[in-house]
Symmetry: C2
Amino acid sequence: MNQTDPAGELTREVLDRIEGAPDARLREVLQAAVRHLHGFAREVSLSPAEWLAGIRFLTAVGRMSDDQRQELILLSDTLGLSSLVETIAHPVDAATDATVLGPFYVPGAPWRAAGDSIAVADPGGSPCVVRGLVRGASGPLAGAVLDAWQCASNGLYDVQDPGQPPGNMRGRFRTGDDGSFVFRTSRPVSYPIPDDGPVGVLLRASGRHPWRAAHIHVIVSADGHEPVTTHLFDAASSYLDSDAVFGVRASLVKEFLAQPDGSTLVEHDFVLRAA
Amino acid sequence: MNQTDPAGELTREVLDRIEGAPDARLREVLQAAVRHLHGFAREVSLSPAEWLAGIRFLTAVGRMSDDQRQELILLSDTLGLSSLVETIAHPVDAATDATVLGPFYVPGAPWRAAGDSIAVADPGGSPCVVRGLVRGASGPLAGAVLDAWQCASNGLYDVQDPGQPPGNMRGRFRTGDDGSFVFRTSRPVSYPIPDDGPVGVLLRASGRHPWRAAHIHVIVSADGHEPVTTHLFDAASSYLDSDAVFGVRASLVKEFLAQPDGSTLVEHDFVLRAA
């Protein structure tokens, strides 16, 4: 032990111990994690009582997490980590910006025909049409897939709400020969993320609200291209500047235009990178 | 969004959002945690697949943690964080060095008389005597308390082993008028930390073993003084240079001296700081 800097010496000892990890990438990630974890504790002089409070908080987060409620992903979302990982993964270019997947995606949404509505059961919803193109570098992409999902007008996703049939507010659509798509839904509403667990406690202690800006989720994919996981945000929504999970990208905020029949129309082209 | 550094802009947005936390210390700790968490992800360009692997790992750690098995503390221990927090909390001075508490402490150990053995049921153990003084800045401390615990010679603590009576290998002792203590036990053995969970998976992936150097745990306390949570390590033990939880301090490694009757004797004075 170097008695002049025992904390720094301890950190070096831990890093040395991981030096033998057979997988080079695991070694790199784990050593960086240790440096930042120790750096954090040293920087704030984390006390034993604070360490224990952190252990208890993270244990509660882990114990609440299962297939139905992933509280740890919610923690990652509310600390901006999920959004950051998407930002790191995708260069800034002409392609559609990615944003967070969120905890409510369900693979295998019903296939629907162009023009159909995903709002199978949403009597309180305000009708809305979404349309546009899916494009690659060389033009519109026929047969591309939009996998869309959102909450109903009560602010709940089907998987949170026994009153909704499975697959409500979800659907997969293929673009036509001209690369176009069109589907109907309800105009999205703002909703609070689940805040009855430890993440809710942390949000309140941080002086933060749990609301997300109104949005429609979409994963867009096409042969020979990178899929993109993204949102369309309603430009009229509250919380665009304080979305609880830091999912807003300026390029994804769209005007929902009032139509003569009382519905709204939002138009957006999705641009995919070649794989 | 500043398009020249969207990741950095996102980190600043998260830090700003926490600016309203009413408690100044929570704000400081949380902002430092966010800076290091984001710094880690940016430094290694954490991919979405790696992020998900991390979420799954930490969820498994949290779900395995309960009153009997605290896998998250084990993770903190094996990453050196628990030891670091102890190191940060205590200045380097003449007082006894602190080290990790570990997961096997049980409050309320049986009170025993000077000279008694804590090895109530350890037929395979090698007899050992532990003796010394508890001192403060102004000399020996009468009526100080040693709360001692260790594993039996099969490498298991009573709480892990239905074959041991509760309180086996545990005891509380008071120093006499001259500040001295003496108790008997079994010479400690090396043992592996529980490695059948996700922490064991991480140790193996890191090329590390799960063994702890042989030690006796002690919490020493006295009126008007800071208690110290520490170990006595056997200088003849393996793993002193690779203790799985980074608990070894050079000042705590002691010779266990062979006695004519076949037992061993270890002598150590504990020095407490004034409160």
